[in-house]
Amino acid sequence: MNAKERLEKVIDNIEKVIIGKRNIAELSIVAMLSHGHVLLEDVPGVGKTMLVRALAKSVGADFKRIQFTPDLLPSDVIGVSIYNPKDMEFHFRPGPIMGNIILADEINRTSPKTQSSLLEAMEEASVTIDGVTMQIPKPFFVMATQNPIEYEGTYPLPEAQLDRFLLKIKMGYPTPKEEMEVLNRAQSAAPIEELTSVISLNELLELQKQVKTIKVDETIRSYIVDLSRQTRQDAYVYLGVSPRGSIALMKASQAYALLKGRDYVTPDDVQYLAKFVFGHRIMLRSEARYDGITAEEITERILAKTRVPVQRLVGQ
């Protein structure tokens, strides 16, 4: 069974629970395969938690959920050393971060201090407490959710932190037809309980390795760089996509190509993922907000005007 079939099984499995969100499931897997993390931005109740749980169950991973509240402390996330009077030593009690798949719910409701503790763990895939560094088990995949910024009582994530998420996805409401199907399924027993894993964690790790072998032609690399550079030159953009963003786009494209059963990246992959990779990495000037221009629209515009490479580079 090749990578594509395996991954499709996972997606099919998720689809049993989440109706009509195949692309979200795909993108989640893309992020997971390329060692990235996802920022889900949407209103509550559209199935964010269900998606993560279904994903965790499908790959047989350990699932943890952290509900971020304003009074949550870093130690509540990464764990704490507790003094044991019996042997007169500190013992580390791992926090919820020490799992495979973490749902960090409403991440923008907690203090920046706690936020950064999570984000550092995401970037390093390890936590350091009292001078002791501990690896987080692999695979490690965080799916953070946040309510849209305009909601009250939130701490917007700083730019540098946002950059650590590979993709930002908006879930969106289901269509009326899909919503009726949701109701239909909700009448019977919760389907999430019936899900079984379709691939093992080891297989997942194997696939993660495979992603790195996907060929990214020089033409594609130059295309990615072109796109990133364009974001930095746009008149509406205050801060464009960083080189880390370019890397993210390339990695995500590789994973997406694997998901589509190809061993090379095409411009279509890049175009498709650019919207999700760039969306949270472009900081707009205030003029853009006055003109009602969003980062997604900027990305669309750049995609439309940047020449797609259709020939081998000269000398190849």
Binding site: K215, D217, D263, T266, P267, A304, V308, R312
Partner: protein
């Protein structure tokens, strides 16, 4: 997706319309050739179309059609309704006759049955062709256009009246073209064939056709813009021949030369065959009055002499001194006169005959018992005249003034003759002293002054134009009439008597045995040349037309020239002087610069021609460039076909395809990926090929995996697409 081609009702309607269209083709053919049994031919067409409509396999439909044709032959030619023994034996004997006639290339012996079969085969092909157009190409416009042209031409040039037929054809054709356009459109946009969709288009179509037809019938019609072309054309073609006027004439001997000019088309109808030792110019007559447009003959002038068989005749040309030769002419076209070579002594033929010679036009008319007679074969005794070079060298222009008054008519020139013609004649002959040299100078002038021989695109002079002037100064291209008339006129302007002669040139050598050549002379050999009078020598033949060698065959004879011992010195002097007049250095310098001079002369002489040629080439180039998406793919398809399995070639071919699609008008936006572009192309054409090709291309370019691309398999897809964009 159900293609509209699958809709039986729709296709049935198309085939019925096609049947009526074909019937419109058949009707005039049947009417004009007076063939009967129109109904049986129509049944053949109907059966053929019906089987094509039902997609009957060829092994079934073919025999049925052949059986029908055989039955038709039996029924029509023997009256039998069934395949009786008698009928079959008729078929067998007829087949044998035709087969032997065909194998012996005796086309005239084939029977009507054979022609009937050929006609059926033609109908068969027509049915197949239209079936193909309608079912596969979904296009009928060309056939429709041809039908209209066909009926219009027949209506104009034949007794067939297409007045109602053209209305029927318009209605049928518009319906057919409209429905086929609908079919193409629905296919192109992948619209499912559904009755309501079709009705949405078909009902307005029918209404529009009906409305426009009704309106066209009701509205008053303008009269013809041009007069009926038929009398106009027949008035010229009836008198066709060298010397007839009109836009395009048919070459051949004609009587009326009053309006020269116009183009000619060749006509290789045989006129006569002649056995003779050497090819001759065959004279018919001459004309003396130049009218600025052509030639006429002075009326009521000259004398007539009547000769009998083998009697020595007296023409203006003395026979030469060599032995008499014989020429046997067998005519293939009837003329009431004889054709004769220069130096003719006598005529003879089996019938007793009078040869009436007229000094006015030097024509020998033939009479039998006082009636005009067209001889079929006759023998001529003749010797080519020879002229003394010494005598020719003595032809003093001053002697011209002393010629008797009867030469006046050979000096006639119209008053309107432009002065520049006279000036040119004087200029050309400036350095010549004798009459003979002057004549030769004019004869040579045409071949050295950039004149061109051509039978096509030769104008007829307008009312205020002079035929000679137009040729000498404006067009500088023409055929024998232009050259000979011009020479006569130029000679006359120098007071040298000259006349314009008509007849035939040598013809084509078709056989040569034992010193006798057989020449075939056709209408293409109709010719005109010049006779000029050399004082003290007599009339001589001159051939100014480029490419004709008439004068050489009747050349003067140097060896037999009886000359004084003193004279050779005098003769050679001018010849010797010429090379001596320039030293070597000067000659070298002259040849060096003469190349430039000649080039510059050529450019300035042909300035307009060159400009037009340049403009023409530029225009052609532009047009070819503009429509390159039409023809280039076809070249490229074969070009890329030659490459075998090379991925580089595939990439090039693919990029070429992209360009072709761009030219076709489907633009790829800069930010559009090949895949989405391919999807659009495929949805546009209703194909899958572009996506397949693109996937393979992406694998080569982005995946760097050239080996796995099966270029052979993809080639067909690519060619299919290319053809779609260039169709």
């Amino acid at each position: 997706m159900t293609s509209i081609r699958k809709n039986k009702l729709f296709m049935a309607v198309l085939y019925v319309l096609v049947f009526f269209m074909l019937a419109e083709w058949l009707t005039p053919v049947i009417v004009l050739t007076e063939t009967g049994h129109k109904a049986l031919f129509l049944i053949f067409i109907a059966v053929g179309l019906w089987m094509a409509f039902l997609r009957v396999p060829w092994w079934f439909s073919g025999p049925i059609k052949i059986l029908y044709i055989l039955w038709f032959i039996i029924y029509v030619y023997t009256g039998n309704v069934f395949f009786t023994g008698e009928a079959i034996s008729f078929l067998r004997t007829d087949f044998g006759m035709n087969f032997s006639a065909l194998t012996s290339q005796n086309w005239a012996q084939t029977t009507d049955v054979f022609r009937t079969v050929l006609f059926f085969v033609l109908l068969w092909m027509a049915i197949y062709l239209i079936h193909y157009w309608v079912s596969f190409r979904l296009s009928i416009f060309l056939f429709y256009l041809l039908t209209v042209v066909f009926i219009a031409v027949l209506d104009t040039f034949s007794p067939y009246s297409g007045e109602t037929a053209i209305v029927r054809i318009m209605v049928i054709g518009l319906l057919l073209a409209g429905l086929l356009h609908l079919a193409r459109w629905m296919e192109g946009h992948r619209i499912l064939e559904r009755t309501d969709k079709m009705a949405m288009f078909a009902v307005p179509l029918v209404l529009l056709v009906a409305l426009s037809t009704a309106l066209a019938l009701y509205l008053p019609k303008a009269g013809p813009i041009w007069p009926d072309p038929v009398p106009f054309i027949t008035s010229f073609s009836g008198q066709g021949g060298v010397g007839s006027g009109g836009s395009v004439g048919r070459i051949g001997y004609g009587v009326d030369d009053s309006r020269l000019g116009g183009s000619f088309i060749g006509d290789d109808t045989a006129v006569f065959q002649v056995e003779v030792s050497e090819g001759q110019y065959w004279k018919v007559e001459s004309k003396d009055v130049y009218t600025t447009k052509g030639w006429e003959l002075t009326e009521n002038i000259g004398e007539s002499f009547i000769y009998g068989n083998s009697e020595t005749v007296d023409t203006d040309f003395e026979s030469g001194e060599e032995e008499l030769e014989s020429a046997f002419l067998s005519m293939e076209q009837g003329f009431p006169f004889v054709l004769y070579p220069y130096g003719t002594q006598s005529f003879s033929m089996e019938d007793s005959l009078d040869y009436q010679y007229s000094t006015a036009d030097q024509r020998f008319e033939t009479y039998q018992n006082g009636q005009e007679f067209e001889p079929e074969a006759y023998e001529i005794s003749f010797t080519e005249p020879s002229y003394s070079l010494a005598a020719l060298r003595e032809t003093n222009p001053e002697e011209l003034a002393e010629l008797p008054a009867e030469f006046g008519r050979f000096l006639q020139l119209p008053e309107e003759l432009p002065d520049r013609v006279r000036d040119l004649a004087a200029e050309v002959t400036e350095s010549s002293d004798t009459v003979y040299d002057k004549t030769r100078a004019i004869e040579r002038y045409f071949s050295i002054a950039g004149f061109e021989y051509s039978q096509s695109d030769i104008p007829v002079p307008e009312a205020d134009q002079d035929y000679v002037d137009q040729f000498l100064f404006d067009t500088k291209r023409g055929y024998c009439d232009n050259f000979s008339t011009s020479m006569v006129v130029m000679l006359r302007s120098l007071d040298i008597p000259a006349r314009w002669v008509k007849g035939f040139n040598e013809g084509e050598l078709i056989n040569s045995e034992g010193g006798t050549d057989v020449y075939q002379v056709t209408n293409n050999n109709a010719h005109s040349w010049v006779e000029a009078y050399m004082p003290g020598v007599g009339w001589m033949l001159f051939e100014p037309t480029i490419g004709f060698t008439g004068s050489s065959s009747i050349d003067f004879d140097l060896e037999l020239d009886p000359t004084d011992p003193e004279q050779p010195d005098q003769q050679e002097q001018p010849i010797a002087e010429q090379p001596g007049s320039a030293d070597d250095e000067e000659a070298a310098a002259a040849s060096g610069s003469s190349f430039w001079n000649r080039s510059i002369d050529f450019i300035s002489d042909n300035r307009w021609k060159l400009i037009w040629a340049f403009v023409g080439i530029a225009l052609l180039g532009t047009i070819l460039f503009k429509i390159r998406h039409k023809w280039m793919p076809k070249l490229l398809v074969s070009y890329y076909r030659m490459g075998r399995g090379r991925s580089v070639r595939f990439e090039k071919a693919y990029l070429r395809l992209l360009k072709q699609l761009e030219l076709y008008g489907i633009h790829r936006r800069p930010g559009q990926t090949l895949k989405s572009y391919a999807a659009y192309i495929d949805s546009f054409f209703g194909t899958r090929e572009m996506s397949e090709l693109t996937e393979a291309y992406e694998r080569t370019v982005y995946g760097g995996d050239a080996e796995s691309v099966d270029w052979h398999e993809l080639r067909e897809s690519r060619e299919n697409l290319i053809n779609r964009t260039s169709g």
